[in-house]
């Protein structure tokens, strides 16, 4: 088992109605596994499918990235600073 935290920012935070959530997944689970899991529990995420950027431990991560125990996964929309 691997467990960690997922954080949400900006419009995604508003869409899911919270800024973070704990997750527990089987060993070998990937970012994609987590996204599928979160979309079931947090319906607000669905409308952002395809426009969600993901970072694992503060680095941009691909869907196939394998999650480790204590990983911090961040989900957010395309950035718009400046």
């Amino acid at each position: 088992m691997a467990r960690g935290k997922a954080r949400f920012f900006a419009s995604l935070r508003e869409a899911v109605g919270r800024s973070e959530i704990e997750w527990v997944l089987a060993d070998g689970a990937t970012v994609e596994t987590l996204m599928t899991h979160l979309r079931k529990t947090l319906p607000g995420l669905e409308e952002w499918a395809g426009r969600t950027w993901v970072a694992v431990n503060r680095h941009y991560a691909a869907p196939e990235t394998v999650l480790q125990d204590c990983d911090e996964v961040a989900l957010f929309p395309p950035v718009s600073g400046g």
Binding site: W53, A55, Y60, P77, G81
Partner: protein, 147 residues
């Protein structure tokens, strides 16, 4: 007052103060850029903006942009400071300061810094205009892994 070169802050930013963070006796040129909250956007009358960041990721990414700049131009020091929270029309949301021995490259480096920030740094702005509010859309393509 901070001497941090890469900072997400909640307090108002001064261009002079950020420029001082990069100045040194060997720097013959400092190029500074400020992003300002303006009163219109896409035909809407803007009341104010609210910025949000993921600071634990954004600050290292600002440092990464400085490394990218140093690999391309002979600059001495780079500072990038972005403010978050509510900001009124005319206030400074972001300042970039580039110090180098000579001006060559410093202008391009400054432009690269702000362009890159808008592409990859996890900061978002929400516009409050007369009649509503909207999250501003960023670029469609996510950056490649920065690990």
């Amino acid at each position: 007052m901070s001497d941090q070169l890469f900072e997400i802050t909640t307090t108002p930013i001064s261009m002079d103060e950020v420029s001082r963070r990069v100045s040194s006796p060997s720097a013959g040129a400092i190029v500074s850029f400020a992003g300002i909250v303006r009163d219109t956007n896409a035909g809407r009358r803007v009341r104010y903006l609210e910025y949000e960041a993921y600071p634990e990721m954004a600050e290292p990414m600002l440092a990464q942009i400085a490394e990218e700049i140093k690999a391309r131009w002979p600059v001495e020091k780079v500072a990038i400071v972005h403010r978050v929270g509510r900001q009124e029309i005319g206030e400074i949301s972001v300042v970039v300061a580039i110090a180098s021995a000579h001006r060559q490259g410093a202008f391009e480096a400054g432009r690269y810094a702000i362009d890159r920030l808008k592409e990859i740094v996890p900061i978002w702005k929400k516009e409050f205009f007369e009649g509503g509010e909207v999250w501003i859309q960023g670029p469609e393509k996510p950056p490649r892994s920065n690990s």
